[in-house]
């Protein structure tokens, strides 16, 4: 890549930082230059977030239909998988799997609900009702 070809597209890093790219100058010598972003990778990141939003929407529908508990929705919201949620809550993965069932979740003691709420950074009421700002 030639230094003059380093893309200067808009990215989500606008106003945060520019990033360093390595490229060759007109004499073939390596140099570094700042880039504000590259459309190709901004789009890749958008694909990842579109997928996350899609997963959240699906999870929300399933919770509302009573197929699973709000934990499933909040895991998507916080980009967590079972292993990550288990280590943040200190619960076993099999316990969380049980709590993902609506029936089990509805009978959980407030203390356990609070544990999840803390990790998801919401109140217990928000956890039960899925009332969060999705942005």
């Amino acid at each position: 890549m030639q230094a003059k070809d380093i893309p200067q597209d808009k990215s989500k890093l606008l106003n945060v930082t520019k990033e360093i790219c390595y490229a060759i100058d007109e004499n073939g010598q390596y140099t570094t230059a700042l880039s504000s972003g590259w459309e190709i990778k901004t789009e890749a990141l958008n694909v990842a977030w579109a997928d996350i939003n899609h997963r959240m929407a699906v999870a929300k529908q399933e919770v509302l239909a009573g197929k699973c508990s709000p934990i499933v929705y909040f895991m998507e919201w916080k980009l967590m998988d079972l292993a990550i949620l288990a280590s943040y809550t200190g619960l076993w993965q099999w316990q969380i799997k049980r709590h993902m069932k609506a029936k089990v979740f509805n009978k959980l003691p407030e203390k356990t609900i609070q544990k999840y709420a803390t990790v998801f950074e919401v109140t217990t009421a928000q956890l039960k009702n899925m009332t969060v700002n999705e942005g």
């Binding site: 930082t17 790219c21 390596y30 190709i40 990141l45 990842a48 980009l79 990550i84």
Partner: protein, 338 residues
């Protein structure tokens, strides 16, 4: 307390931490490409079966932590590296080292890293930064991928040092134990050992998921994605490949350009003219990776979707693999003078 510390921006976090810490400790020759090359940073792995964020687990660089450790070891610089079982002991140790006037490298998770934009915050635990001071409750932070220094409250720093999940940092901190004057001969030895190890890592690890054969393997897999995963999922997979290759911290072209820069710098220490030629091959490999990214983007943006386009993706990766294989074979043939 504040250590007198110069922040130098880098493309990649661990290269940057290594360069900045070593420069601070008297190794004035250290640059990002040298740290990357001596630490044999260039790599490729596509871990089978494992999924990261619902996509393929692909990396273009070696395991986290190795660049710092290998570079220091090659230059015979003693290091301290510790993990902790409690937040308190981790913070105590950090303050102790800062009080002794040393900037400290820390492994952190990105998800709760408050100065990153939300879009970049995934549960990725192999980020590195330098803490160079503390004022009241605020830590002074030099994050090498950022243009300028920044800060974190002690709550925020403790939280990212104890991020959970794969590669959990467990509060890990590291720093060179002592200042050391490094001669150009030391650098020469480091370069040669770094190159030899990188040749081994990219050419001689058996199986079709590591090194040059790993790149070929991914190419062949991509060819089948359209049929086995379906178009929608293929898009997500391809986007993930491009993110691993180009996202903040690679210097572009999946670190291939940094490696090409390393070989040019190596030539200043070891005047083997082949190095300049091989550097061009890595530039070419990086360019092919960039073209592949453009092709992938065509697919994940939904502009192109036929099987031929997936075949073309595969061809790009076969080309990149072929160029890199030649380049490493050439490196392998250099007769280093004693």
């Amino acid at each position: 307390m504040k250590v007198n510390f110069r922040h130098i921006q880098a493309a990649h976090c661990e290269n940057g931490v290594t360069t900045n810490l070593l420069q601070h400790n008297g190794v004035s020759q250290m640059t990002e490409p040298l740290a990357f090359g001596i630490g044999s940073g260039l790599f490729y792995i596509h871990i089978p079966f494992l999924k990261i964020n619902h996509g393929p687990a692909i990396a273009f660089r070696t395991l986290p932590g190795l660049i710092f450790k290998r570079t220091c070891k090659a230059l015979d610089i003693p290091i301290a590296s510790k993990t902790f079982s409690s937040i308190d002991s981790a913070e105590n140790e950090l303050t102790k080292v800062l009080a002794a006037g040393k900037p400290v490298g820390c492994q952190v998770g990105v998800y709760y890293l408050s100065y990153f934009p939300k879009e970049y915050r995934f549960h990725f635990n192999a980020h590195n930064l330098i803490v160079y001071g503390k004022e009241q409750d605020t830590y002074l932070i030099s994050d090498p991928v950022m243009e300028r220094v920044t800060t974190l409250s002690s709550f925020e720093l403790n939280r990212v040092r104890f991020a959970k999940g794969a590669l959990a940092p467990k509060g890990q901190l590291y720093y060179p134990r002592a200042n050391k004057i490094i001669t150009d001969d030391d650098i020469r030895r480091g370069i040669v050992s770094g190159i030899k190890r990188n040749v081994r890592d990219m050419l001689r690890i058996p199986g079709s998921f590591v090194g040059v054969s790993g790149i070929k393997g991914t190419g062949l897999k991509i060819k089948k994605w359209r049929d086995t995963l379906g178009l929608e999922k293929s898009k997500i997979y391809l986007a993930q490949l491009v993110r691993m290759q180009e996202e903040i911290g690679t210097g572009g072209g999946g670190f291939r350009f940094i490696y090409a820069a390393f070989l040019q710098q190596a030539h200043q220490y070891l005047p083997h003219d082949e190095l300049l030629h091989i550097s061009k091959q890595f530039t070419q490999a990086g360019d092919i990776w960039r073209q592949a990214a453009v092709q992938a983007a065509g697919i994940y943006k939904g502009r192109i979707e036929k099987q031929e386009e997936f075949n073309l993706m595969c061809d790009y990766l076969q080309q990149a693999a072929a160029v890199e294989k030649q380049a490493f074979l050439h490196l392998d043939k250099i007769k280093w003078k004693k």
